[in-house]
């Protein structure tokens, strides 16, 4: 993972793709979002979504999964090169989360993030604050999901 100083506005990061199976969609829905269109193919077809659709929170959680996996892969590579590894802090939240297209059974989303802004933190000088627009694009090239994430990123020379 990068330190604050290594991050530039406009940087894009590909985080890999994920295919949503019926089993995954229903398992998440049973636990967290058991609305009928997330649980049954037939109810999904009769809904605005037009098919069995993943819960929006499932899509968001899978996006996090892909971002974390990509960050950990990058950290392993940096460690193998003998570089210091930046451990990112927690996120204070996000804005503008959009579920733009239904994510239906069998859909594959490719996740990516683009840095939109960065600034230092007045109250926490060892951290910077970075805003990243994360997105999921389906196999037809349609933007299905996006949000503007905020994260605390360690500064290189602040005793991280």
């Amino acid at each position: 993972m990068h330190f604050f100083e290594d991050i530039e506005v406009g940087q894009r990061r590909e985080a890999g793709s994920f295919t949503f199976t019926a089993e995954d969609i229903k398992r998440f829905a049973r636990q967290f979002d058991p609305q009928r269109f997330h649980l049954s193919e037939e109810e999904g077809r009769n809904s605005l979504f037009g098919g069995l659709a993943a819960s929006g929170w499932h899509v968001a959680s899978v996006c996090m999964k892909m971002m974390v996996a990509d960050g950990q892969r990058e950290a392993r590579e940096a460690a193998a090169r003998g570089e210091r590894v930046a451990v990112w802090g927690p996120s204070p939240g996000f804005r503008e989360l959009r579920w733009l297209q239904p994510v239906l059974v069998g859909d594959t989303l490719s996740f990516a993030g683009i840095v939109e802004a960065k600034r230092t933190s007045a109250s926490r000088p060892e951290w910077g604050i970075v805003q990243i627009r994360n997105s999921g694009t389906n196999q037809r090239g349609e933007l299905a999901f996006s949000f503007l994430a905020t994260a605390f990123v360690p500064r290189r020379d602040a005793g991280a």
Binding site: D33, Q35, S61, M64, V68, G93, L97
Partner: protein, 151 residues
């Protein structure tokens, strides 16, 4: 009876829960979706900004969704949500927390493009048993209007 758009006037509010959150479910969610040390490893978590094992923020969101489903969405003519305007993670979710969720209707309007539906914007705040706010979100949900009501 199914709740429709008309049942969600601005200012209407409700409190839902408590929902007990176990260490096992925090670890299970983190292992699948957010395997960062602060969500998985007690010792490593102590050295992070959160100062101890905490649930993934996305787990908390998903729990809030479930509490809203059990509270009212499960009985409402919900057609889904276009997104979340804003969400703030204010304090960490801890193993053993008992969550309550306060929900208020912030805005309600008939959809221009689909006049048989309305868009209800909810503000939800999740609290722990000490009354600390853990997460605050503002999110619209599309809800059908009562049968026969059009335009």
């Amino acid at each position: 009876m199914t709740l429709t758009f008309e049942d969600f006037p601005v200012g209407r509010s409700g409190t839902f829960g408590p929902r007990h959150v176990t260490r096992e479910e925090i670890l299970a969610f983190a292992a699948e979706f957010d395997p960062q040390p602060m969500h998985l490893d007690e010792e490593a978590a102590k050295r992070t900004m959160l100062g101890g094992l905490s649930g993934s923020g996305w787990h908390l969101c998903s729990l809030m969704m479930r509490m809203m489903f059990d509270g009212f969405i499960g009985r409402a003519a919900s057609l889904g949500s276009p997104g979340v305007n804003e969400l703030r993670w204010l304090a960490p979710l801890r193993p053993g927390d008992d969550l309550t969720l306060e929900v208020e209707v912030a805005e309600a309007r008939v959809s221009k493009s689909r006049p048989e539906t309305g868009i209800v914007t909810f503000k939800g705040v999740a609290f722990n048993a000490k009354g600390e706010a853990l997460c605050e979100m503002v999110s619209p949900i599309i809800i059908s209007r009562r049968e026969g009501v059009r335009g």
